[in-house]
């Protein structure tokens, strides 16, 4: 029956990366010697061959129009024979061999409102999720907070005046498409109201055993409504607002304008440098959504960054700094209030209790 149709092409995978590598990279592949950061957002890699590769890193909002894609393509043609790349943190990087073209490129990027920076001891771009632009389970917007925070933190992107790197990440709900849980500062969208159950649609849209088994605290039980509809009920005291039930069943939304907002987490890292990778820890349990600029969130982050910057030792990431000074000091120095929510009560909570008499005064 499919004989007369043209054959569909499938399973070809991505294009091979070699097609996109500039000659200087092909020539020096695996043969780089060392690199230097020349100024904010600009670095040079030296090959054993003596070749030099210059990289200019610029910010991007991640959410980009195809027009901007074409702008970047034009700049790549103008300055680097058409070769460019993106980074794991959504920056765009132009790859040049002609040092004299660096400054004109930076001027052109500035004219397009794309600041250059994010290298070395700076705040790089914020890794983030879709938020209200595209997600059904978002407890907050993503792009909007990122824009507001980076407007505020701009000087730390475009200059290198911090003691160490800061990696900020945002996820608009606990699903963490942005896996923010190991960031120096994480902004995490959070729900605070148990799911509202739509008994009229649940039986049709959801598979009840799947819904009950989705709850990590066993707070969801099957039930039959007075009208005889098969549905579920939620033991509200047992709900910790993970929204896993909503992921498997659209009839259980947790989204709620009054109760949704963001939490702030600190001290995570993924790099193995000096100390082992660490999870981020809760700093501020809840800040209400306040679009378009979330001033309470930007203030909180600015405060943490500036207290850290003023007190940390060279190369000390936020988590390393806090581990040295201890958390009581962190709360004291930042003026953040310690609340019941800071004390873990999920699995293995006891491991986070302070089990030594070693305390700072």
């Amino acid at each position: 029956m499919a004989d007369d149709k043209p054959k569909r092409v499938t399973d070809i995978g991505p294009p091979h990366y070699e097609k996109f590598l500039p000659p200087v990279i092909k020539d020096n592949y695996g043969k780089w010697k060392y690199h230097e950061i020349l100024k904010p957002g600009v670095m040079v890699h030296y090959g054993h061959s003596g070749d030099k590769l210059f990289t200019v890193r610029a910010a991007s909002p991640r959410l980009m129009s195809i027009d901007k894609m074409r702008d970047f393509a034009d700049l790549a043609d103008k300055y680097c024979d058409g070769y460019l790349r993106f980074t794991s943190r959504n920056n765009v990087e132009f790859l040049l061999t002609d040092e004299s073209k660096i400054d004109p490129l930076i001027e052109d990027l500035k004219a397009l409102n794309h600041p250059v920076g994010g290298l070395g001891n700076s705040i790089s771009n914020i890794v983030h999720t879709q938020g209200w632009v595209h997600c059904h389970s978002a407890a907050t917007d993503a792009s909007g907070i990122v824009k507001a925070v980076m407007d505020e933190m701009y000087e730390y992107f475009s200059e290198m005046k911090l003691p160490a790197k800061i990696r900020i990440a945002l996820a608009c709900c606990l699903n963490m498409c942005g896996a923010v849980h190991c960031s120096d500062i994480a902004i995490l969208g959070i729900h605070r109201r148990p799911p509202r159950i739509d008994h009229n649609t649940l039986e049709r849209l959801c598979e009840i055993p799947l819904v009950t088994s989705s709850c990590p605290t066993a707070a969801i039980r099957p039930t039959t409504t007075p009208e005889g509809k098969k549905s579920v009920e939620v033991i509200e005291e047992q709900c910790m607002f993970c929204a896993n039930c909503y992921t498997v069943c659209p009839s259980m939304p947790l989204n709620d304008p009054l109760n949704d907002g963001v939490s702030i987490w600190v001290g995570g890292k993924v790099s193995n440098a000096r100390t082992a990778p660490m999870f981020s820890k809760l700093a501020i349990p809840f800040i209400p959504n306040n679009p378009p600029r979330w001033p309470e969130v930007t203030d909180a982050i600015k405060n943490i960054v500036e207290v850290w910057a003023a007190n940390a030792r060279k190369y000390e990431r936020i988590g390393e700094w806090i581990n040295r000074i201890t958390y009581p000091k962190f709360f004291e120095m930042t003026g953040i209030e310690f609340q019941k929510e800071h004390i873990d009560d999920f699995k293995f909570a006891g491991l986070t209790y302070h089990r030594t008499a070693q305390l700072v005064r």
């Binding site: 649609t201 959801c206 598979e207 799947l210 992921t247 659209p250």
Partner: protein, 83 residues
Amino acid sequence: MASEVSVQEVADAMYKMIKDAQGMKKFKAGDLTKAMRDVYGDAADRKTCKAAIKELIDSGRCVYTYFGGSFIEIPHDEGAANK
């Protein structure tokens, strides 16, 4: 040795299983594979089951669906779709 079983036969058995449970239970690829092993033993090995699932999907008799995990279902209108 276990007896032979064709990909088409396994695909048909899978289809029946999906159809019989429609509206009550959704199956993942792994659920179907395990169920076939219970019926046909080693003859329905992983490779045969994979081919059977591919046959169901490529023929359009079944589609992949997603609700917090990927399932294999008979095509139907999407609950959330705007008509």
